[in-house]
Amino acid sequence: MFVTRHIPAEHKDLIHDVSYDFHGNRMATCSSDQTVKVWDLGEDGQWNCTASWRTHSGSVWRVTWAHPEFGQVIATCSFDRTAAVWEEIIGEYGKGNQSNWVKRSSLVDSRTSVTDVKFAPKHLGLQLATCSADGTVRIYEAPDVMNLSQWSLQNDIQTKLSCSCLSWNMSRMHPPMIAVGSDDASPSGGGKVQIYEYNDKTRKWVKVETINIVTDPVHDIAFAPNLGRSYHLLAVASKDLKVISLTPLSTRDAPLAANQVNSNKFTIKRVAEFTDHESEVWRICWNVIGTVLASSGDDGCVRLWKGKPFTITSK
């Protein structure tokens, strides 16, 4: 059912993240060996490493692609307390058909390890969110999309919990929204997932919800692509895998305006919970339309989940 191919990644330490670009023909991997590798899908269906370079002076936790509208751009974040934005220089090929990536910007505001970095959905322009181990979420914006070297810090949010991951809500209908997960280990600390929303009037990010369903340390978090849905699906990887739905309290009969003040209330429901990994769930991702969820656990298995009565479809 699945044809599995091994790729000699040749990273010298653990790989912490794998990320496809918008169209799924390029892939980036990042590792503790402080390098990032970019892989391109060849005509023959083989993945070829077209770039490999040292990006940080510490473990690189995450790598993520920007929307291709902004160019071939990736962002990385690292233990070395920085996040960086890289752009591929078109037309300059070094030896062995290697493409050339240059650092456009280094975001050095964090005082601790930067644990996640994510580009905002395209309709919000070129924005970048980072979160760090000391519990700060930072929102950067490149006011000029042609100039990737200039990022201004728009906001920093103190979450008061050590952050491990974040995810943008892709919805166009809803005001900008971010979910932040914490790997804080104390079970007494309450909910480990917080939802922040951008308030257009005050120009600030405000916390709108703490999801109390999740009290275990969170390793990864992901909003499903929203498409036309009126509710938001949030997958949370911790000790087990949970899918949580956030339904705005206003319904389609009373559509909420983007600037409505009282729009920030949700009905939060646990849609699904899986313990099949029988171990920590490390990473999760959705398919493009938000109907299939993939998770990878400490047991070394990849599991795909689908449909309303989520079922295992692959191991």
């Binding site: 993240d17 496809y20 503790s32 002076s57 490390w282 990473r283 991702c285 959705w286």
Partner: protein
Amino acid sequence: MSMMHNVSRAVHDRVNPAVVKTMYCNCEGAVNALAINRDSSLAVVAGRNVFKIFGIEDERFEEKMNLRVGRNVNLNFSASDVTWNQNDDNILASAATNGSVVVWDINRTTKSKQDYVFTDHNRTVNRVRFHENEVNLLLSGSQDGSMKLFDVRKRTVTTTFVSGSSVRDVQFCPSVFSYFHFAAADENGNIQIWDMRQPDRVQKQITAHSGPVFSIDWHPEDRNWIGTAGRDKSIKVWDLQRNKLLYTIHTVASVMRIRWRPQRRYHIASSSLLVDFSINIWNIQRPYIPFASFEEHKDVTTDIVWKKEDPHMFYSCSKDCTLYQHVFKDAKRPADHVTPSGIDMNLDYTVSHAHGERTLSTDKHSSGKLSIFHKKPSRSDHFTQAYSTLHVHNCNKHETSLSMDWFRDSAQRYLLKGFSLDKLCEQNAQVAESQGRYQVAQSWRMLMVLYSQSLYTAPQFRTLSMGSNSSEKTDADKGKKDAQKSDHQDSGNNEITSGSDDDSDKEIIKENLSSIARGQPSTEWDILFDQDQLTYDSLGDFDKGLQELTLPNEAFVPRHEIKEHPNPLDSMPNGHDSPTSANESEGNMQNLQHSSRSNVDEEVLVTFSNDMNVPNLGFSNHVVDMLYFYAEQGDVQTPVCMLLVLGQKNRPQIDIATQENWFMSYIDLLGRFKLWTISNDVIKMSYLPQISMMNQQSTRIPLHCSTCNKVLSRVGWLCDRCKTVINTCALCHHPVKGQYLWCQGCSHGGHLQHMSDWFSSRKFCPAGCGHMCEFT
């Protein structure tokens, strides 16, 4: 991974005596350096404003002596480094920032314990070290570029060694390897090996770092190994014998101190000059993640000293004024908390997955209590053997439940315009059906039934009936499918369709009742429909007749009041069950009247289809529900295509913002699948200004005047500023207002026709510039 480490930790750290624990004391001043005496019972801390000796007890540090006392507390009391004589417990030496080297004798009876001050250096002394075996030998390294060997007893400088630049660190070679050698680090990035007996020349010099070297440390076990660290944020291990770089660790900040861990060949402790306050213990075989880290200090850690011959304990001091005793069992293990896994999925469900491998047996189920008796691989072995494998799982094409082919296929094959609504719906239904998406196919057919505009011609009606037949067949198929794999979507479909049917039934009843209340002749439709059903089969032969039938105009007239009635087709499958008994008689009477007025049965059909032409609010709600239903499932393609097919007239009432959202999402998705042509079609067809605007952007290319370079605002051939006609034809000298053909070589040109005429017989430019234009 974390789990297995926990297990092995318990095994591995068992050797650690239980009594020792992490403890600290406040020194009341930022500490620059730390030294402990021979038997690790006393510790001296020195800084700009602090110079104290603490006793190391089991539970705490106890202050024994404050050396910073006396009548004249000058700069000699502010130390940048301190060392304890390993042969005479009473002798200390400190290095001062004013260039003095101060020897202290804590046995002195006077209040001040200062024994002697060497003032031979003229700039800051960065390091002082006593020789391991020679009680009187003291070595210093200074900012002034020299190292001096003092005889403490004679109070003289025995030898001076001159380095090229400021000396940051000096360390005697462990005496088990060599009695005479020492290493020095300078600000130019060099390390030097000196022989005390040969002050005139350096034994060996290696350029180890780019930028100052801050710390060097001889390996306690391997005579040829030396560790170096510097501002370039790296720690390096050198083989002095072969002049070879063995290992490099890139850290996050400039490295202030390094100290090899006793009895652990590959472990080295480091602290940073700035930014990072923690002490990291690295395994040089895995240079990327610290093996252990200690994060107690709240400011920069300035010095680290291991307890003699004990790999589990060390002392550290910091700018945060504290002196710490660290115990290894309290260490943080950063590697346990890193995510060993990465996963992502692309459009075609190709999942790439990286996972940290465990090379050693780590079956967590068997490693319970018994594990203590097994020889477990050490934690260190586990640690260094970390690596990840990367796999790409390609989804098999035949796995239809995990495929986006339906999306591509539908996007490409759906007809959205250019035909009648019936045709479009039927085609799209077939597309959906061919993909096995019976629910979507059914929905398309329902749309066709609901909104069809051409029912009054019999062949079309036939099509309709075929349509419903085939959809019945679809239902049957679906049933089979359900039995086979009980797909949730299909069952959901069944529920939904039947649910909406029920709803519509109820609504019809309501409508009927209210109509009756209003006294309108309405309720016959169900019955009429019944009759249709009944008569239809028998009508089969009438096909020809129907086709030829010309309809009397009067038949339409009395139907105007019934505009708003629900579509009987909504209730088609359940028509028989509709509880219409209450008004049956009336309806029948009406029917009779109608029949009498329009003397043929077919007439009834005609009136019925006429009603279909009118937009009918009764079911548009259900269409809205249906569109939302698909959108809620994440299938934004279906509602968008349906909206497009329905067109202006039949479009149900949906919030504009929602519609825009659906369109944008669909266009995004198409872009993702690189279906740009289709995406552009959708934009073009869209009736929403926000959407159709999308391909109106950046479509303007401004022309500039060829003489004054001003943007041509009015027309493309006349410049408003210099009032000249530009782009004249080289042949007829008239302005070219249409297609302008010009040579890229000489930039002359003109009317397309003129140019092609000219070049049909000539090679050279018509303007006479002599350029041989290439005209193809």
